[in-house]
């Protein structure tokens, strides 16, 4: 499956990465070589093999729905680029 410029552009948008046209060209080259390596997988017969999602085949453990964390909003928000009244500030979304 040859990688096109439009695939890289689409992935960059989905991943919210700003890339220039020159960068996109370079990523087409790099990612194409990665996919050439990855395409070896297609030669293996995996008929009837179940995907392995967890190396120990474990399933998600559940716990009681108890409150265990304390409120550390102020501590955490000190890390944020911009906050006001306990809220994170971003550019206006709704005019």
């Amino acid at each position: 499956m040859a990688l096109q410029h439009t695939h890289v552009r689409r992935a960059a948008h989905l991943a919210r990465l700003d890339i220039s046209d020159a960068q996109a060209e370079r990523f087409v080259d790099d990612l194409s070589r990665m996919l050439d390596m990855v395409d070896q997988l297609q030669s293996i017969d995996t008929e009837g093999v179940a995907p392995l999602l967890h190396p120990l085949d474990a399933t998600q453990r559940l716990r009681a729905d108890d409150v265990t964390e304390s409120d550390q909003r102020e501590r955490f928000q000190r890390l944020a680029p911009a906050t006001e009244n306990g809220l994170y500030l971003v550019p206006r979304v709704v005019e």
Binding site: D18, H54, P55
Partner: protein, 493 residues
């Protein structure tokens, strides 16, 4: 520095713990000595991103007081350092990235908390490939780390700063993380001992995630004995990591001396193929002879899907990374671009400015393989092959107790030598399948190729860390490769 150890150039955790217990040295003296070594070494080595001198001396004084009060444990007062992927409360935790250059962790990882509670003294945070993506430590925002055996060589990656710091004798031990070989390969390149435990053996809470189904923390030190003490202190279930294993934690140090009579060693023939450095192959063969002299038997085994491991890994790891790294959005923490036009512009430019090339490559390939129209062909296919790769190991461990081979096909390569990302990925051929299968592996020094160290990798079944450490320790009782020191370590003392 007082003469409290047999090897002043690179003391071990075990020797320092004994010296502290005897009262030959104080924790403050040890921390001060480490800080001096770091100061002398760092202009050349670049193995640390942050050195936390003030906090280290305060922790050392607390450790000395605990000892005076009779509250000291085995590790109380022992100096060490953490790869900069571990969150450390009130200390910058950058993950080697511009994205987190301004990030002061508001809490500590569980592994860090456990070593703090044991009285260990952290000297700071070690350099690493950005977001642990790399095999040479050249992708760090903070610059490449040099290998203390040869300053023109890479230390390996991604835990390259951790390995170089131990090899140079700056600290006796560090914690690293291993997603595709990032503890074992730098350990091999720098001539130290590095253990990647079973997936889930150590809590991942507070470790910045790269690929969550592969990531695992582990100790990096000079000896298997040191690794046993550190693993015992940090292993175990953690309610804050639902993937941490509920299995009981054995006394790893107590089992180190068990005899190896009757040990069945398998040599995977796929690990001795084309591209293997002759000196690395020779070192492994010589190591196997040592094991035979200790009573082990040896046979060939096959791991037939080995050559597909790198392909499966470079679908699964970037896919998980693209999801994990979505959290770096310029809103709640980390880098934010100047004057964003709107929310999408804020996301896109903050991420474009904050991430380096290798991280972007992996985010893009991961996003692409997970996207509509490609998901089944890449991601699901890779997960099926992952099961076949794991089954190879399970079948092998029906026949033998441990597998042995080289950690890496070559010794450390020159800085700047690997220009093509894919050829660098293929270097991880012997380590990557281990993470896909979730089994533990350890790299121990086993010789040299020219002036550069080579490692022996020993692999075991899930949760066989006690056996691996025992097997590695007995080798280190019979050989002295782990006692070799680079000239650099002597120059800075």
């Amino acid at each position: 520095m007082s003469d409290h150890t047999a090897d002043p150039f690179a003391p071990t955790v075990t020797s320092l713990a004994a010296a502290l217990k005897r009262g030959d040295v104080s924790s403050r003296e040890l921390a001060t000595d480490c800080l001096k070594r770091i100061e002398r070494a760092e202009p050349a080595l670049n193995s640390f991103i942050s050195v936390t001198a003030e906090q280290a001396l305060a922790a050392a004084d607390a450790a000395d007081r605990a000892r005076a009060d009779g509250r000291a444990g085995f590790l109380t007062g022992v100096p060490l350092a953490f790869k900069d992927i571990f969150c450390t409360r009130d200390v910058k935790t950058s993950c080697g990235s511009k994205m987190l250059d301004n990030f002061i962790a508001p809490y500590s990882a569980t592994a860090v908390q456990k070593l703090d509670a044991a009285g260990c003294v952290s000297l700071g945070k070690t350099n690493m490939d950005e977001f642990a993506m790399g095999s040479s430590n050249e992708s760090s925002y903070y610059g490449a780390v040099k290998n203390p055996w040869d300053l023109t060589a890479v230390p390996g990656g991604s835990s390259g700063g951790s390995a170089a710091a131990v090899a140079a004798g700056l600290v006796p031990a560090t914690l690293g993380t291993d997603t595709g070989g990032s503890i074992r390969q730098p350990a091999a390149f720098c001539g130290i001992t590095g253990l990647k435990p079973t997936y889930g053996r150590i809590s991942r809470y507070g470790i910045i995630a790269y690929a969550s189904s592969l990531d695992q923390a582990g100790p990096m030190a000079r000896t298997a004995e040191d690794c046993a003490h550190l693993l015992g202190a940090i292993a175990g279930h953690d309610p804050r990591d639902s993937t941490s294993a509920p299995h009981a934690v054995p006394d790893y140090a107590a089992e180190l001396d068990a005899p190896l009579t009757g040990l069945k060693i398998g040599l995977p023939r796929e690990y001795f193929g084309d591209g293997l450095d002759p000196a690395a192959a020779h070192a492994v063969n010589e190591a196997v002879k040592v094991y035979e002299s200790l009573g082990a038997t040896v046979r060939d085994v096959s791991l037939p899907h080995t050559r597909y491991a790198t392909s499966a890994y470079y679908v699964i790891a970037p896919a998980e990374a693209s999801s994990n790294l979505a959290r770096f959005d310029g809103v709640r923490f980390g880098h934010r671009c100047d004057s964003p036009e709107d929310l999408i512009d804020l996301y896109k430019r903050s991420r474009a400015e904050g991430f380096g090339e290798e991280v972007k490559r992996r985010i893009l390939i991961g996003t692409h393989t997970l996207s509509e129209g490609f998901f089944d062909a890449y991601y699901i296919k890779a997960q099926k092959v992952r099961r076949l790769i794991r089954q190879d190991f399970l079948d092998a461990f029906d026949q033998v107790d441990v597998l042995m081979g080289p950690t890496s096909p070559t010794p450390a390569f020159d800085l700047g030598a690997q220009k093509d990302p894919v050829s660098m990925y293929l270097q991880d051929i012997y380590t990557i399948a281990v993470n896909l299968a979730g089994i533990p592996g350890i790299s121990v020094p086993a010789g040299f190729s020219g002036a550069r160290p080579v490692g022996l990798q020993i692999l075991g079944a899930h949760f066989s860390e006690a056996r691996l450490l025992n097997v590695a320790h007995r080798f280190q009782q019979a050989t002295d490769w782990h006692r070799q020191r680079p000239a650099f370590a002597k120059e800075i003392v």
